[in-house]
């Protein structure tokens, strides 16, 4: 299924500036694979050898996937995904 993904400012260079992109997948892992296919280089900014990078949070609707099933979290028809990296500006 196709769902909507919100791309944070710092990753928009990979999506030619697009804030909202579509991606396909039944799990978060599949969605991220699809993102990497369409926007090469983005996957590496989100994931390292040990899984989701510790300063990147991904939400399915308003739930942090680290408190769901992580990369194996299931994606439903009307879900939306938000990627939020840590920023420290002040």
């Amino acid at each position: 299924m196709t769902i909507e993904v919100r791309i944070p400012t710092i990753l928009r260079p990979y999506t030619a500036g697009e804030k909202l992109v579509s991606a396909k997948g039944a799990t978060l892992q599949e969605v991220l694979n699809d993102l990497e296919l369409n926007y090469p280089g983005m996957g590496e900014r989100l994931i390292d050898e040990s899984g989701l990078r510790r300063f990147i949070n991904i939400y399915i609707n308003d739930e942090d996937v680290r408190f769901l099933a992580g990369l194996q979290s299931a994606i439903g028809e009307n879900d939306s995904i938000t990627i939020l990296p840590a920023v420290a500006g002040g």
Binding site: R45, R54, A86, A88, G89
Partner: protein
């Protein structure tokens, strides 16, 4: 969730104070008792910069009795686009003193305590001990993790906010009642991966949008009214003009507030966050030239005695503000994603520079890794160039 008031009420408000705070006093939820609690409250603001400016001004106007300010920097002209607690006449002054003067101008009934030090593991516990609540207006990861851990260890609420370009985030971290900052982000990003406001810019008024959320939450906690922003992250998008919320869970595996914490005392936060990545530090070792070296090389190139390519790895908007003559622009991102590498000349030495030298060191590691072993970068970047070679040019 609602929480009891953080502060006991002061014994009384003077006639002058009643007149000053009348618009608060007639709100039933605040009333005399709420205002007396604010009068008795001690709030510490870490930083008197972008977020600290509106936070301190509204905390002062609201009648918070004691305001502490941690700040060691001086006012720079480039601060005034957003740091509204300082003015033109304050350029070059201590930010702490400038902020104190503004606070007292707004409300002479506030007691201001200045802490003109760089906050670190050796002084944070002593400084925080006196205060009921900490408002975070800092601009770097190391200080944010330091403030968080100290607040967890001291069981104090930590009113947090963060801004970048048109985006802001805010929350209240309080391990006694919910998650802490490490529950949200267990580790900082590696240096160079997330740009700062100095690198990426920030819309000035965004400070007010997020700073006002922080003050609102501070007042609610002090007076014990409403639902605090504990366990929730507020995400503001100025371009869309939307506020969205996501949940923050208390992480049972959190290093500082979890079931079996591994951080039970303060650590070395500079080492934890790093100011430059290990690979960049390794690449820059023995491959850093000064701006004076660069000037000699450029002069020799003009005479036909040297040949190299000078690459500015900053963003186009920065290049437009000021640039080193003879430099070509290829932003850092094009090296990180690999797209710039194929276009690099193999018969010339590569010389990299950025604003101050951090980004060019990151790119140096990438370029050397791609086989350009004689590449170098310019220590101090374009800011050092302007200071030492072309002082008539602008800085930012």
């Amino acid at each position: 969730m609602s929480l009891p008031p953080l502060v006991e009420p002061a014994t009384e408000l003077s006639v002058d104070e009643v007149r000053r705070y009348s618009r608060h006093l007639i709100i039933p939820d605040v009333g005399m008792s709420g205002q007396k609690r604010l009068k008795n409250a001690k709030v510490l603001c870490v930083g008197a910069g972008g977020l600290g400016s509106p936070a301190l001004m509204y905390l002062a106007a609201a009648g918070v009795g004691t305001l502490g300010i941690v700040e060691f920097d001086t006012v720079d002209e480039s601060n005034l686009q957003r740091q509204i607690i300082h003015g033109q006449k304050d350029i070059g002054r201590s930010k702490a003193e400038s902020a104190r003067d503004s606070v007292l101008e707004i409300n002479p009934y506030v007691t201001v305590q200045l802490h003109e030090v760089r906050l670190d593991s050796t002084n944070v516990m002593e400084i925080f001990a006196d205060y009921d609540l900490i408002v975070d207006g800092t601009d770097n990861f190391a200080t944010r993790y330091l403030v968080n851990d100290a607040c967890v260890l001291l069981k104090k609420p930590y009113v947090w906010g963060s801004i970048y370009r048109f985006d802001g985030q805010a929350s209240v971290f309080w391990a006694e009642h919910g998650p802490c900052y490490r529950c949200l982000y267990p580790e900082p990003p590696p240096p160079g991966m997330v740009p700062s406001c100095a690198e990426g810019g920030v819309l000035g008024v965004l400070c007010a949008s997020i700073g006002s959320i922080q003050v609102t939450e501070a007042i609610k906690l002090l007076a014990g009214i409403g639902d605090p922003l504990v366990g929730r992250l507020m995400v503001y998008d100025a371009l869309e003009m939307t506020y969205r919320q996501v949940k923050i869970h208390k992480d049972p595996n959190c290093a500082v507030c979890g079931v079996n914490p591994t951080v039970t005392e303060l650590i070395d936060y500079e080492a934890f966050c790093g100011s430059i990545s290990d690979s960049a530090a390794e690449a820059a070792k023995d491959s850093t030239i000064s701006v004076r070296d660069l000037k000699s090389m450029l002069d020799a190139r003009d005479r036909g005695e040297d040949d190299f390519i000078l690459i500015d790895v900053r963003e186009p908007g920065e290049f437009e503000i000021v640039a080193i003559p003879g430099a070509i622009l290829i932003p850092k991102g094009e090296f990180l994603d690999g797209s710039a590498l194929s276009g690099l000349p193999t018969d010339k030495r590569i010389v990299l520079h950025c604003k101050v030298g951090g980004r060019s060191a990151e790119v140096l590691a990438v370029v050397k890794g791609a086989g350009f072993s004689d590449a170098v970068h310019v220590g101090g970047g374009v800011l050092a160039w302007v200071t030492q070679i072309e002082p008539e040019k602008p800085t930012y």
